[in-house]
């Protein structure tokens, strides 16, 4: 099926990598981080890339999910699964409550409001030390297990998160290709026209905001169990901005782009550590460079480059390629 061929490729890559590089730190450890980031980026991309509603506070929902699980399992001794569900319910409710007033805002005002939301959540996490452990964080979070299968090694976490990523990508692709997905893109294109076509834009925005928040909370909960430790600096506004950067770097409104952006921004610092004090500067330069030369995002940009190369190497009398729909690239 053409619609899901990309997903299939992604699945193959996820399965094959640990087989080619067994026991490799970059696959099982960094790969797990990249996977989590990719899940977050894909969810943010639904909101930002497709619906055009920028959020600089996505890390907050990630954090609430993580802390819900951490607190319920460590302080109250709950089983991880009900903790996860309570975390999702809590995040969903919070997102639902703030969505309406916040999503009335547009552009930079929306950016500021979501940024503020993220910072407020962060401050509460830091200040509610009796509950959250404050800046020192909260440790001793049990790992996940299902039907006796315990996720107790990096390899197993890799499998779990890889699977989760595939699931989230599949959900995102499905949504984009549906009535609801078109409604999202439509309100990005023109809110009045979308309304006039019968789309309840406020409800649609709220819906996608809550959905993105839920996915982020799910990722957060998994993150808490995987790290066995949570601390506020994993959910700071800097991380929210990093997530936005992943989405834009990969290419707005492209699910695979979001995955690509997440992977690149996760691996880049790991590779740059050898530059020590120069790391920050080089990282900034690379980020700028990528955006300057491929302003429409790496995924679309690289695809186009590839296409150009193929076209050039092909004999001229073959049919000129059809102009691709740049927005259809899901």
């Amino acid at each position: 099926m053409k619609r899901l061929s990309g997903l299939f490729l992604l699945a193959v890559a996820i399965v094959v990598l640990p087989i080619i590089f067994p026991d490799n730190y970059f696959v099982t450890v960094v790969g797990v981080s990249a996977g989590l980031h990719a899940i977050l980026a894909v969810s943010l991309n639904l909101l930002m890339g497709y619906a055009g509603q920028i959020s600089l506070g996505h890390a907050a929902f990630f954090g609430i999910g993580a802390y819900s699980s951490a607190i319920l399992t460590t302080r109250y001794g709950w089983n991880p699964w009900p903790s996860l569900l309570v975390g999702l319910a809590f995040t969903g409710t919070l997102a639902y409550i703030v969505a309406r007033p916040i999503l009335k805002l547009k552009g930079h005002y929306l950016a500021m409001a979501t940024l503020g939301l993220g910072i407020i959540v962060h401050i509460f996490i830091v200040q509610l030390g009796w509950l959250t452990g404050g800046p020192d964080g909260l440790g001793g979070i049990p790992t996940l297990s299902l039907f006796g299968w315990t996720v107790d090694s990096d390899e197993r976490w890799y499998m779990v998160i890889g699977g989760l990523l595939l699931l989230v990508v599949w959900l995102a692709l499905n949504i984009i290709d549906s009535r609801s997905g078109r409604a999202l893109r439509a309100l990005h294109g023109s809110e009045v026209a979308a309304e006039m076509m019968g789309i309840n834009t406020a409800a649609t925005k709220t819906g996608v905001f809550v959905l993105a928040a839920l996915i982020a909370a799910l990722a957060g909960s998994v993150f808490a169990h995987q790290q066995a430790f949570v601390s506020p600096d994993s959910f700071s506004f800097a991380f929210s901005i990093e997530l936005v950067t992943m989405v834009v770097l990969g290419g707005m409104a492209s699910t695979y782009g979001a995955v690509l952006g997440a992977i690149i921004l996760t691996f880049l610092p790991e590779l740059l550590v050898v530059f020590e004090d120069y790391e920050v500067m080089i990282f900034g330069a690379i980020l700028m460079g990528m955006m300057i030369f491929l302003p429409q995002g790496l995924f679309v940009g690289l695809l186009e480059l590839l296409r150009k190369l193929i076209r050039r190497s092909r004999p001229a009398n073959l049919s000129t390629p059809q102009k691709e729909d740049p927005h259809g690239a899901a």
């Binding site: 440790g139 990096d154 066995a228 430790f229 601390s231 610092p269």
Partner: protein, 356 residues
């Protein structure tokens, strides 16, 4: 011979870089020196280091990288309490000796088998300060603290220890790491009946607090924590720093110690080496020195890098004179310092003096 591999992850950049930066410099400088002298047991020492930027999440990944990929023998690192605490479950599972360079008492209390640390705890700092206050007859204290990990943890210990010294906390204010003005908090403090002000924090905050105290014309004694134990503080706070007291390792006043002090040669040696290369010392770099030396001596005594043996030897560290004090560890004490490891200092004429 097979090199000894020391792994470290530090907050070399980011908000806690004032910790990580001197720590990294110290490790690099000493390992270079040791190798120049032929290494340990004839084996060269190799340092593998990563910068966490102060983020606990990075710390976990880098600790994994050190253990799985770089296959280090010992980890000496973790500038912040958060980053140290976050890797502890990992370290315990991987069974690798870990000497933390962070302040929180939670790292060694309760004691975890594979985890040690060298810096004085924030509890000790609070105790030392309260001892001094008791001597001056102070019973009412206004607390102000930064809301980062260091300040928060210090605040918690200060609140917890106060009753033991019959001290009443009459104000409990906070400020953000990058706040530029604390006069609002201090105005509130001014209008309490506090007899002294205690500030737990690091970075620009304590210097601004010190200046603001003087700006508001507050004449109460001002205590800072060991978080400001570097010349930079005096430079930033300027005249306002006169009379400020703080607990700190003897490193800052090495020259002023009696000749007989067992720490004196170590302190002068470290200080001269560091200042010769990088400029003003801080006590934080000293903690890295202590951690590194304790680890290497343990390896030397164990005659191997077998992790279990090294761990046992670290635990047996006895009367080791470091920059932070004289360490004597035990199965129930993975720090091995007493309150006497702290000196109470006062800033006079722009320099440190020992209070007695």
């Amino acid at each position: 011979a097979e090199p000894i591999r020391i792994g470290t992850f530090l907050s070399v950049t980011g908000p806690a870089s004032f910790l990580g930066d001197p720590e990294l410099k110290t490790l690099q400088m000493y390992i270079e020196n040791i190798n120049a002298k032929g290494g340990v047991d004839g084996r060269p020492v190799e340092l593998v280091h990563y910068d966490t930027g102060g983020n606990a999440k990075e710390a976990v990944n880098f600790a994994k990288r050190l253990i799985q990929k770089d296959k280090v023998d010992v980890i000496v690192g973790g500038s912040t309490s958060g980053s140290s605490l976050s890797v502890m479950p990992l370290v315990e599972r991987a069974k690798i000796p870990f000497i933390s360079l962070a302040g929180s008492i939670k790292i060694i209390d309760p004691v975890q088998k594979w985890t040690f640390k060298t810096p004085h705890t924030d509890r000790m700092a609070a105790q030392k300060i309260y001892e001094d206050m008791q001597k001056r007859g102070i019973t009412k204290v206004a607390l102000i603290s930064g809301n980062g990990g260091f300040g928060k943890s210090g605040r918690a210990q200060s609140l917890a220890m106060a009753p033991n010294y019959d001290i009443e906390i009459v104000a409990d204010e906070q400020y953000g790491a990058k706040d530029t003005d604390m006069t609002a908090q201090l105005t509130k403090i001014r209008d309490t009946d506090a007899q002294a002000i205690l500030n737990f924090g690091f970075g620009s905050g304590p210097a601004i607090v010190t200046k603001n105290v003087r700006q508001l014309g507050i004449t109460l004694p001002l205590y800072q924590s060991h978080g400001v134990a570097s010349k930079k503080f005096i430079e930033l706070a300027g005249d306002a720093a006169e009379g400020v007291r703080l607990p700190a390792a003897a490193l800052l006043v090495a020259e002023k110690l009696p000749q007989s002090d067992p720490q004196r040669p170590v302190l002068l040696g470290y200080k001269n080496l560091y200042e010769g290369k990088y400029g003003d010392v801080s006590t934080f770099g000293g903690h890295a020195y202590d951690g590194l030396m304790i680890a290497l001596e343990a390896i030397d005594r164990a005659d191997s890098t077998d992790k279990a043996k090294v761990r046992d030897e670290i635990e047996k560290t006895t009367n080791f004179p470091g920059t932070g004090g004289v360490f004597t560890m035990s199965p129930t004490d993975h720090l091995g310092l007493g309150l006497d490891a702290f000196q109470m200092l006062e800033i006079k004429n722009g320099d440190w003096t020992i209070v007695n």
